[in-house]
Structures are given as structure tokens and as C-alpha cells.
């Protein structure tokens, strides 16, 4: 935000609601987001069958499943990526009319909104069934991956914002997390896209090589599921890797995946905290760009953590959890549409392949450590077959 813009806002401001502008100003942008959203995803309350989601589903049927996984699921198509993709296409081919831009700025309101509403989605106790050691492996893997990725970021001199997004996406095993981290890290849209593409591409590489790497170790099928869920992540990619190994591994990848899923928030909060503290310690370092502009711990992140704690106390029952998650889908569909419109292909490519190299280096290291840890646990009897 340039200073002129900030001053203009300060002059205009009457209350916090001023940030929502006037209805006339925002309507075109909101409509653009709305239509991109409803043509991207099958959203609650919208019976529109002509969505990108359905198109991908049909293409999945045409291509046929690969190791039981739909092709576009392997590519991580979901309710965030579909509108981003549609937004990207529209923005890069037709441009973004100026009249939309006030409305599109709602993305900044929608991001905290969506992230807070994600709170009830992560019920820690759903993972307790996995047992202590698998949970420990999942948790350690998450923090270690994030740390190692940030370290590689430094080593490869990657923009730290870019590196943080990779750390979030890779450690949580879900490129979603990159989008969630975006407002916390103050990353650029193209960095998020570049990082996410890198994480997805690495996921594809990992899902193909993991069964080959793991084969000589004769890891019990059940724990091959754990290796896939943690070492590959990304939902269908981990299932692909597990099924490539055996049916039973696939079944248990589904079982262990819940562990990876429920601690996801810890991943992006951790990355944020590390970068935030680093920035606070080095206030003047021009190479430290992540979280620049955030001077104190964001209140809304505190609210998210509060809601997450409530979720862990089982305040939200399943029907409420699902209803709230439907609203999350709506929210992120709208926000992702705005994000997609904001990014040019050129910028995404311009972010280079260094991020991908960092992803691969950290991801491969994770696989190696993971295999070693699991083999050790099996040898010592900590993981019972």
C-alpha cells in the first residue's frame, strides 16, 4: 500500500466499517468473485452444475483413476485451487477491470474470516486413536520439515516469504496452508502460487519415488501408510504412493492422514512465529521480508487459536463443524477468486525454480529422516505391527 492510499483511507475513515467501502464501489468486484466462485466449486446452496470442479470430475472419469486416485485430485484440485485457476485465466486473458478492484479488496477481510472459521475443522482428539508414537512422528515431522525448509531457504538465498510459504505447505502436507500463511507472512500472490506449484510437483515426484525408495526396507504395510501420509502428504498424492506399495498401505494412509490433518494449524502458526520473531530480532535487515508490516501478534490469529482450542474441547459437534466448513468453502472460494485475478503468469514464472529446489531438498530430507525414524521405531518395538 502506498502512502497516498493509506492517507486517503485515513481521511475517509469513519469507523472500521469504512474498510468495506460503499456498496456501489464494491458490487462489481463482489459479483466477479461470486461468479468465479460459483463456476469453480459446487458450493452449498448453489445448484449450478457447470463448475470447474465438475469439469475436472468428468475429466477424472475420462482419464480413469491412477492407483485409485483421480488425476485432478493428484494435482490437488480443490475448493481453493479451482477459483484461483479460473481467476488466473480470466485475469491473464481479459485483465481485471478497475471497477472490480474495490470489491476484490474484500480478500483481506475474507482471509482472516475463513481462517478463523477453519478452527472447528481441526479437532485434535480425532487423532488420538492413532496411538502415541505415530502421533509423535507426525508432530516431529511437521516441525522438523518446517525448520529444515526455512533453513534451506536461507541456504539457497530464497526470498524468505517464498520460503515460509513452502515451509507451511510442505510441513503440513497441504498447499492450502500456503494460502493461509499468505496474510501472516505478507507474501506476494505469485510467491504463493509458485510455492504451491512447487509443493504439488514435489508431491508428484515423492509419490512416484517413495514406494521405490521404501521397498528395500520391508516396512510393514500398515506403516507404509504412515510413511506415505507424512512423507508425501497432499491427500490423494499420499494415497497414490501408499496404494502403489500395497492395498493395506493405502488403507492405513487414509487412517493416519487424520493425524497430519488435525495438527495442520500448528504448522502454519509455527512458521509464522519463527519468521515473526526473526523479524522482530532483525528489524532493519532488508533481506528479512517475511511478516514485514506486522508489528504485533495479529489479533485474528489469536482468535483462530482460541476457536481451535474450543474445537479441541469439543464445543463444536459434527453437524456444526460441517456447516461451518461449508461457509469456509464459500469464503475461500471468494477470496481465492480475488487472489487468482491478482496474479500474472509472468510473475509466477519470474519467481523462478529456486523455491522448487528448496522444496525438493527439504522434502527428500524429510523422507530420509522419516524412513529412518519409522525403521527405528519398528526395530525397537515402539511401533507394533
Amino acid at each position: 500500500m502506498n502512502n497516498a492510499q493509506a492517507i486517503a483511507y485515513d481521511v475517509r475513515r469513519k469507523s472500521f466499517l469504512t474498510s468495506l467501502y460503499t456498496f456501489r464501489e464494491v458490487l462489481p468486484g463482489l459479483l466477479a468473485m461470486f461468479f468465479i466462485a460459483i463456476f469453480s466449486n459446487n458450493l452449498a446452496g448453489v445448484p449450478n452444475p457447470f463448475t470447474l470442479e465438475n469439469l475436472f470430475q468428468w475429466l477424472d472419469w475420462v482419464i480413469g483413476p491412477l492407483n485409485h486416485q483421480p488425476f485432478f485430485q493428484i494435482l490437488n484440485s480443490n475448493f481453493v485451487w479451482n477459483p484461483i485457476l479460473l481467476g488466473l485465466i480470466i485475469g491473464n486473458i481479459f485483465g481485471v477491470p478497475d471497477s472490480w478492484k474495490r470489491g476484490l479488496s474484500y480478500i483481506h477481510m475474507l482471509m482472516p474470516l475463513g481462517i478463523i472459521m477453519l478452527g472447528p475443522h481441526f479437532m485434535i482428539f480425532h487423532a488420538f486413536k492413532l496411538g502415541f508414537w505415530p502421533i509423535l512422528i507426525i508432530v516431529v515431522s511437521l516441525f522438523l520439515t518446517a525448520t529444515v525448509t526455512l533453513w534451506f531457504t536461507k541456504l539457497f538465498r530464497l526470498d524468505d516469504r517464498h520460503g515460509s510459504i513452502i515451509a507451511g505447505g510442505l510441513s503440513t502436507g497441504d498447499p492450502h496452508a500456503g494460502v493461509i500463511l499468505m496474510p501472516l507472512i505478507k507474501a506476494k500472490g505469485y510467491q504463493v502460487m509458485n510455492a504451491s506449484i512447487g509443493v504439488i510437483l514435489f508431491g508428484i515426484i515423492a509419490m512416484l519415488i517413495l514406494p521405490l525408495i521404501a521397498a528395500p526396507f520391508n516396512i510393514p504395510e500398515k506403516y507404509m501408510g504412515l510413511v506415505a501420509a507424512v512423507g508425501v502428504g497432499n491427500g490423494s498424492q499420499s494415497l497414490y504412493a501408499a496404494y502403489a506399495s500395497s492395498y493395506e498401505a493405502g488403507r492405513y494412509a487414509y487412517w493416519f492422514d487424520v493425524g497430519r490433518h488435525v495438527i495442520m494449524p500448528a504448522g502454519f502458526i509455527y512458521v509464522f512465529l519463527v519468521m515473526f520473531i526473526r523479524k522482530l530480532r532483525n528489524p532493519e535487515d532488508p533481506n528479512i521480508r517475511a511478516t514485514r508490516g506486522i508489528n504485533k501478534f495479529p489479533v485474528w490469529l489469536g482468535v483462530f487459536i482460541f476457536i481451535w482450542v474450543l474445537a479441541c474441547l469439543h464445543l463444536f459437534k459434527e453437524p456444526a463443524h460441517h456447516a461451518i466448513f461449508n461457509m469456509v468453502k464459500w469464503d475461500f472460494s471468494l477470496a481465492a477468486a480475488a487472489l487468482g485475478l491478482s496474479i500474472s503468469f509472468r510473475d509466477i514464472i519470474g519467481a523462478g525454480v529456486r523455491g522448487f529446489v528448496v522444496t525438493c531438498a527439504a522434502g527428500l530430507l524429510r523422507i530420509v529422516f522419516l524412513l529412518a525414524a519409522i525403521l527405528l521405531c519398528i526395530k525397537t518395538g515402539l511401533l507394533t505391527v
Binding site: M1, N2, A4, Q5, A6, Y9, D10, R13, F16, L17, T18, S19, L20, G29, G91, G95, V96, D98, K101, R102, L104, S105, I107, H108, M109, L110, M111, P112, L113, G114, I116, M117, G119, P120, P183, G189, G293, P298, V299, W300, V303, I307, L315, F316, K317, P319, A320, A323, I324, M327, A338, L341, S342, I343, S344
Partner: protein
């Protein structure tokens, strides 16, 4: 600096820029809406309305 045509209009308004008081206001709006939605949906579920 060249205008980013994707995000910035002719008046210099960049919709991807977010800082200062405006950021705080946007965060506050988002937070309030999120809390209202969560509270209403949870409360309605407790009341058995869905």
C-alpha cells in the same frame, strides 16, 4: 513504478495492498463476521435447528 494492472486501478488503489489502519479494520470486520457465523451455526446446532 509501473502500475500492476491486475491489482491497481487508475487512482492508484492497489487491492492486494493491505496495511495500516485499513488492514486492522479489515481484520476486525473479518473477525466479527467469522465469530458471528461460528456462534450462530453452533448455537443453532445446539438448539437442534439443523
Amino acid at each position: 513504478m509501473e502500475r500492476n494492472q491486475h491489482t491497481t486501478d487508475l487512482d492508484g488503489f492497489d487491492y492486494m495492498a493491505n496495511s495500516g489502519i485499513e488492514e486492522k479494520d479489515r481484520d476486525l470486520s473479518g473477525m466479527l463476521i467469522a465469530l458471528i457465523i461460528i456462534a450462530v451455526l453452533t448455537f443453532f446446532q445446539y438448539l437442534g435447528l439443523y
